[in-house]
């Protein structure tokens, strides 16, 4: 229950963050870049899309699905094992994707985006919570 609450909270933070980025992109405005100054460089690079779908949209969809799965698991919607498996697979894929995107910022784009890093840390934290929850 506690781990689901944490996952739900993190996914909600992710939703608010990605919605902010999507809004800024649609309005063609620069997002606030609290730490570093490479947000625009990263967000407008050719790596900001995967198969024509912007990364922020993919992130939003992932966070929405994770929050729904966390809610289903708390409420007890059957079949539970399907939701747990889907959650693990989704967080694993998103974590690997985040590692790749962070590598791109570090080695290829040579600029750091605060929002992208925040999203990556959010996903990795979800992964840690799932791993720790399985170990205990």
């Amino acid at each position: 229950m506690t781990s689901f609450a944490l996952l739900f909270t993190l996914s909600a933070i992710g939703v608010s963050e990605t919605v902010y980025l999507i809004r800024k992109r649609i309005a063609s405005e620069k997002p606030i870049c609290p730490i570093g100054g490479g947000c625009v460089t990263v967000l407008t690079s050719k790596y900001s899309k995967v198969f024509l779908i912007p990364n922020d949209v993919l992130g939003l969809l992932s966070y929405i699905i994770i929050s729904f799965i966390a809610a289903f698991l708390v409420i007890g919607v059957e079949p539970m094992f399907v939701w747990i498996s889907a959650l693990k697979i989704l967080v694993a894929v998103a974590s690997l994707m985040s590692i790749f995107l962070t590598y791109l910022q570090w080695r290829v784009i040579h600029a750091w985006c605060f929002w992208c890093l925040m999203s990556a840390f959010t996903i990795w934290l979800m992964g840690i919570i799932i791993i720790v929850n399985n170990l205990i």
Partner: protein, 139 residues
Amino acid sequence: MKKASFHFLRVGLAITFLWIGVLIFKNPEAWGGYLQPWAAGLLPIPLAQAMIGTAILDVAIGAFLLIDFLPWLAALVGAIHIIIVLTVSGITDITVRDIGLLVAALALTIDSLPQEVLNKIWFVKKQQTQWMGQSPEIK
């Protein structure tokens, strides 16, 4: 309110409303137990159904706040909702927490009110000030 602090409060309150909604969905009858007998007696529908309706409202308020869509309206509805909760649940050990949430919702409402709504609220006052300033003999 500073922009960043507003968003911190907005997202924090959104998560609270969303999570409470999920918990009510999980066990509506148990949450219905917080209602005072006189309030439960006023319900035209079964208690569980009323609590499911409350859960839907909580989730809707949370979702609106989370995506920053009409935050003033969501926070206002949230504040009214908390006032009703305080009224129907009576004074308990956790009342103080609800008061904190109420004030947070009111702070969000006040800070995110659009200019058109603000103009309407202050319209009478503004007109009175102009009227008093322009025609002192009428005073």
